[in-house]
């Protein structure tokens, strides 16, 4: 088991290998389809993203509403494939990690290698389990997108597995 603190730097990412079990603590950002489309539009116009992608990790998630007494509702990963077309520009802008589930395109894989990033997978459908590792959660952008807004989350020992490492090795193809 490896432990990392987010945001991360390339040096730490280089030590992570496909198949490694990793626990993430620190700050990560939750964003999915609609937010990614907006990110890509913002970057195209050379404007500023609602958060600095440098060294950060995006979690592909759209949580359920927090019931009273909870920090967050269920918050498992969504299918990463749908974010593929928006990912290379984010990696170019400094994004270092992504957490999701499922396969990535070859373009994403190439960008991961080029920019020294990492793709983590976590337990699909296990939203109740994963909610235990979220210590705080707030919407930081695109509030009007509801479950598709951008969330800033403080996590503690959030469990992931390295899906694609910075050398391009892929856990799904072995």
């Amino acid at each position: 088991m490896k432990k990392i603190i987010a945001p991360v730097d390339s040096k730490i990412i280089e030590e992570l290998k496909a198949g490694d079990f990793v626990e993430i603590s620190g700050i990560i950002y939750g964003a999915r389809d609609a937010a990614h489309r907006r990110f890509a539009e913002i970057l195209k116009k050379k404007e500023k993203l609602p958060f600095d992608p440098e060294g950060n990790i995006i979690y592909y998630v759209g949580p359920t509403p927090a019931p009273p007494g909870h920090i967050i509702g269920s918050c498992g990963p969504t299918t990463s494939t749908r974010m593929d077309k928006f990912t290379p520009v984010l990696l170019e802008a400094g994004l270092k990690g992504m957490i999701g589930k499922g396969i990535r395109s070859s373009k994403v894989k190439q960008a991961i290698v080029k920019y020294g990033a990492v793709y983590f997978v976590t337990y699909g459908g296990c939203g109740a389990y994963l909610s235990q590792f979220i210590k705080s959660c707030k919407v930081v952008a695109f509030f009007e997108l509801g479950p598709e807004a951008v969330y800033q989350m403080a996590v503690e020992d959030f469990p992931v597995i390295v899906g694609i490492d910075s050398s391009g090795r892929d856990i799904y193809i072995s």
Partner: protein
């Protein structure tokens, strides 16, 4: 004629949504626990252990099993001797939508439904996908299926030539699961609809998903077992991270078709196969 009030239907669909969102049917639980015990791949085994833990936490903390609380499908079977007493609502669609609206709000379920192509959220997870058949009898039976879209996006329909044999169909089904890979959250359940028209085949593939995990089997038993075996040989495994358990059950539903064609549809459900059936 037996009268059934709209409130009666709303209440039952409401509680079916609650049951399905926070717990799995005993048959489905049994299949998952068996897989967790027998899986030999360390990654696959770990995924199954986390799935079991997730199910326990969902129940204890009353958190939805999965954050994708899905689109609601309701398959009504209304007895020809039953009569729905419409008062505040004008259609069965309205009745189902009312149950969705109130339950998704009360149980803090995610509102995932948007208009197309604008993609504007309806804010209450309505509408439900409502199907209705009039059947003999005086009861109103319904089957509720909560469908997440990680798995729904992997649905496939193929119009085969009439001369296509069972081997071709089997290969198509197995290829669908192979192509879906880790995306629909394996171990999956597979519904296969054969025959009818294109739309009928897709409909049947969804209805077939309502039978997975149950002990009753029909004439397709052997064919279904071969499909399950073929899928599990793929080695995709739980979470797509490798293992022997990729498919926990597969069911076929069929309908006669035209001499010129052979529609086959495949619907995949994730391990969190959320359904509930009730009879009024």
């Amino acid at each position: 004629m037996r009268n059934i009030t709209e409130k009666n239907i709303i209440d039952r669909v409401y509680s079916a949504i609650e049951k399905a969102s926070f717990s799995l049917e005993p048959d489905i639980m049994g299949l998952l626990k068996n897989a967790a015990q027998k899986e030999t791949n360390p990654y696959g085994k770990k995924v199954l252990q986390v799935i079991i833990e997730n199910i326990n936490i969902a129940q204890q903390k009353k958190l939805p099993l999965c954050q994708d609380t899905g689109m609601v499908l309701v398959f009504f079977e209304i007895g020809s001797e039953a009569s729905i007493q419409f008062k505040n609502f004008r259609s069965l669609q309205d009745i189902a939508d009312q149950a969705v609206r109130t339950s998704y709000k009360d149980f803090y379920l995610r509102k995932s439904i948007v208009s197309v192509p604008e993609r504007k959220n309806t804010q209450d997870n309505s509408p439900a996908v409502v199907w209705c058949e009039i059947v003999p009898g005086s009861n109103l039976k319904f089957s509720l299926l909560i469908k997440g879209f990680g798995s729904e996006n992997t649905t496939q329909l193929k119009m085969f030539e009439p001369t296509a044999g069972p081997e071709k169909i089997k290969k198509f089904v197995i290829d669908c699961v192979k192509k879906a890979g880790p995306n629909p959250c394996p171990p999956v359940f597979v519904g296969i609809g054969m025959g009818g028209t294109a739309d009928k085949a897709v409909y049947l593939s969804k209805k077939a998903l309502l039978d997975v995990g149950k002990s009753e089997r029909d004439r397709y038993r052997e064919f279904e077992n071969e499909i399950i075996e073929g899928i599990n040989k793929l080695g995709i495994g739980p979470g797509g991270l490798g293992g022997n358990f990729t498919c926990l059950d597969a069911r076929v539903k069929s309908f006669p078709t035209h001499i010129a064609g052979f529609p086959v549809a495949v619907s995949i459900s994730c391990w969190a196969h959320r359904m509930h059936q009730d009879t009024i």
